[in-house]
């Protein structure tokens, strides 16, 4: 066994393999860029003309284009971004296509920037348009368009629909969101947080949705652990945290191992595990026990 591992390591670390691996990495990067360039192949949508060649930015230099706003994209794992400016009749269109690496992280980044107040439109998995801006999500791409000048709004939609058709796949939101309770869910409140949900490194990743008709709202977090044991370990860490910073008690009415807890800076929570999931309800209100049970049942 050790000999096999050693041989495998020797193979992996051999110059030939490094060269091959490097070549594959280079191919992966280049292939991704070629795919993105195809989205903006001639003829461009709306009879647009490119003002310059497309440029690509990676996580290490995205800040040159976006300053501090780049940080969020890096946090969500952006692989690269394509930027190009177009001229379509009297409108100037700025196009940014972010390859976020996966549909979930693309959704996470998209949801991080959307407001429930936006005007939502059916493009890709979801999109919105607001004052010269049109952003949409599809597959692993998060597309952000800006438009200025006469007819910009209409041109934005044409460009967006063309890009969406060229992307082709991935016109649905993450499947986990469909498993979360629908009743009283606040529209467009869903999120995906890959790391440190609620400020705790052991809780990532998590799907989130807000519930309630007023303020304050309750928030449901479904954190995805490796397995049942990991989920229970996460619950234990949560228990330790609240015991240290506030108070924590068993909540047997929810189920075995479930807790209710609170502290001065995070408020109140209910939490339980269901298989590989740790389910938390932040700011529970009356009837939350039934809600949490329904949430757990939906994960079957």
């Amino acid at each position: 066994m050790l000999r096999s591992v050693g041989l495998l390591l020797a193979l992996i670390l051999s110059p030939a393999c490094v060269s091959i691996c490097a070549s594959e990495r280079g191919v992966g990067q280049e292939a991704s860029q070629q795919e993105m360039l195809k989205l903006l192949a001639e003829p461009l949508p709306a009879g647009a003309v490119a003002k310059h060649a497309a440029s690509f930015y990676g996580p290490e230099n995205l800040y040159e284009y976006m300053d501090g706003a780049a940080d969020i994209f890096v946090l969500y794992g952006v692989r690269q971004m394509l930027h190009i400016d177009l001229r379509a009749q009297a409108a100037d269109i700025s196009v940014d296509v972010f390859d976020m690496g996966s549909a979930d992280t693309a959704f996470g980044m998209y949801a991080a920037e959307r407001s429930p107040d936006f005007h939502f439109i059916a493009i890709g998995a979801e999109g919105y348009q607001y004052e010269g801006m049109l952003n949409f999500l599809q597959d692993r791409y998060y597309v952000k368009l800006l438009g200025f000048g006469d007819g910009a709004d209409a041109t934005l939609e044409t460009v967006a629909r063309t890009l969406s058709a060229r992307i082709g796949t991935g016109s649905t939101l993450p499947t986990m969101l469909a498993k979360l309770p629908r009743e009283n869910r606040k529209p467009h409140s869903e999120q995906y947080i890959p790391n440190d949900p609620l400020g705790h490194s052991f809780l990532g990743p998590a799907y989130v949705a807000a519930y309630g008709s007023g303020h304050p709202e309750s928030k449901l977090f479904v954190t995805v652990a490796r397995d049942r044991g990991d989920a229970q370990q996460r619950l234990k860490q949560l228990e330790q945290h609240f015991t240290k910073t506030g108070k924590c008690e068993p909540a047997p009415e929810l189920g075995e191992g479930a807790i209710q807890a609170s502290n001065s800076f995070e408020g109140s929570i209910l939490a339980e595990t269901k298989g590989r999931y740790l389910i938390l309800l932040v700011n529970p209100v009356n009837g939350s026990e039934q809600f949490l049970k329904a949430a757990a049942a939906g994960l079957d």
Binding site: A70, S94, E113, F148, N195, D196, S201, G267
Partner: protein, 418 residues
């Protein structure tokens, strides 16, 4: 009047003035080199060290909160509980939602008069291509109008009548530091009592400090400062001079790079001691009134704030800072180009350094090759072949000769196409 469309940067500033929503975002520990191992324990009842922010007279704990990437509302009251009194945000962070979160939490806690709030406005009107500044695309009057509009949006999101420090955000050129429109707007806001003090933030700190010292405008300068500047005597001298002249100095990017520069260069895994060591190194410079490290977990908060009451290095922290391989691996080229004059061939050393970073630290060989290919003919790696070793000296801490040898090896072994 020119009818030039606003570029993306302008637009984000404009839209940020009218958005209203609160997403939750999170930040992976590894991007900041933060460890998930147990953080140093906060000493019970430990009192933070206070310093005065230059002529502003504001007295602050030496560790404050850079809210930029934090979107867990609970971090703000917890920070306050522990003793943090200064919270830094900006209009364009999370498209305005960062300011909303700060405003909401400060209001809920009812502590507005007990904290120092800073925000930043990016003066619209500058076009930029990969860091190279172009000419301004808008008149001073237009810039002023947009600046005031964006700041108005900031106050609404913060739910405040004023901020304590208003920064001219990310002024990375002399022209931006001196932006007539931005300065007029800021002066007006200060006169109106909407900004108690004025500041400038910059990723080109040496330039920003020197320019600020020529002007009678800014009270505070927000600069990146971390241990990679340890050998930059001139820059450290500039910092001290600015502090002597009464400028309040705030340090950012204190843990060697921050979010925009992932941490693989620092090696893994990193211990909490490395993070506290890095922060202490910054705060050992008494010209710095306070640092605004970014943190997004409660663990990181406690880890960072543990430094505020004790700047003495532990044995483990001393070992980390004196570990040459750790320091060397953290070298990154700040692209100042001051080394180019040392090279008899005029080689484009900054681009070679960037290529090295892509290849060696990020494993992104395609980008490394692209960077090599972008170098002007005769100024790339091939021009280095006649020199036994590189004669260029980095004004910071980069071992240029070592990195060029690495690149030569990678191309000789055909890992990289030259």
């Amino acid at each position: 009047m020119k009818n030039t469309p606003w570029n993306r940067r302008d637009f984000i500033s404009r839209v940020a003035g009218s958005l209203a929503a609160s997403p939750i975002l999170k930040r992976p520990d590894f991007l900041f080199g933060q460890s998930t191992k147990s953080a140093p324990k906060m000493e019970p009842n430990a009192k933070p060290i206070y310093r005065t922010l230059g002529k502003t007279g504001i007295s602050l704990p030496v560790v404050s909160m850079g809210v930029m990437n934090a979107d867990v509302p609970g971090l703000i009251p917890r920070s306050y509980e522990l003793g943090i009194r200064h919270f830094d945000t900006a209009a364009r962070y999370q498209q305005g939602r960062n300011e909303e979160m700060v405003g909401r939490m400060i209001k809920e806690m009812g502590v507005r008069d007990k904290v120092i709030i800073s925000t930043k406005v990016l003066p619209p009107g500058w076009s930029r291509d990969r860091g190279e500044m172009a000419l301004p695309t808008h008149s001073a009057a237009e810039v002023k109008a947009r600046f005031l509009e964006v700041f108005d949006g900031s106050l609404k999101r913060l739910q405040m009548d004023y901020v304590d420090i208003l920064y001219n955000h990310s002024a990375d050129s002399e022209a931006e530091v001196h932006s007539e429109g931005a300065l007029e707007a800021m002066a007006e806001l200060k006169k109106a009592g909407k900004a108690r003090f004025l500041g400038v933030s910059s990723h080109k700190p040496d330039m920003a400090l020197k320019e600020a010292m020529k002007m009678d405008v800014y009270d505070v300068v927000l600069i990146p400062l971390n241990f990679t500047k340890a050998n930059d005597a001139e820059f450290l001298k500039t910092i001290n001079e600015a502090a002597k002249r009464g400028f309040g100095l705030v340090a950012m990017k204190t843990q060697a790079g921050g979010a925009v520069k992932p941490d693989p260069k620092l090696g893994k895994p990193l211990t909490p001691a490395s993070q506290t060591a890095l922060l202490k190194w910054v705060l050992h410079h008494e010209s710095i009134a306070t640092a605004i490290p970014g943190f997004t977990t409660y663990e990181q908060l406690e880890q960072n704030f543990s430094v505020a009451s004790n700047l003495a290095y532990s044995t483990e922290e001393q070992e980390f800072l004196s570990d040459k391989s750790a320091v060397a691996s953290a070298q990154f080229c700040v692209q100042c180009s001051e080394c180019r004059g040392d090279c008899p061939e005029g080689v484009d050393i900054p681009r070679l350094m960037r290529s090295h970073m892509y290849a060696v630290q990020y494993g992104n060989y395609a980008l490394a090759e692209e960077t090599l290919a972008s170098i002007a003919r005769g100024k790339g790696l091939a021009a280095c072949k006649d020199c036994e070793s590189c004669r260029a000296t980095c004004r910071n801490s980069v071992n240029i000769a070592m990195k060029i040898e690495h690149l030569k090896t990678l191309t000789a072994n055909r890992v990289l196409a030259a």
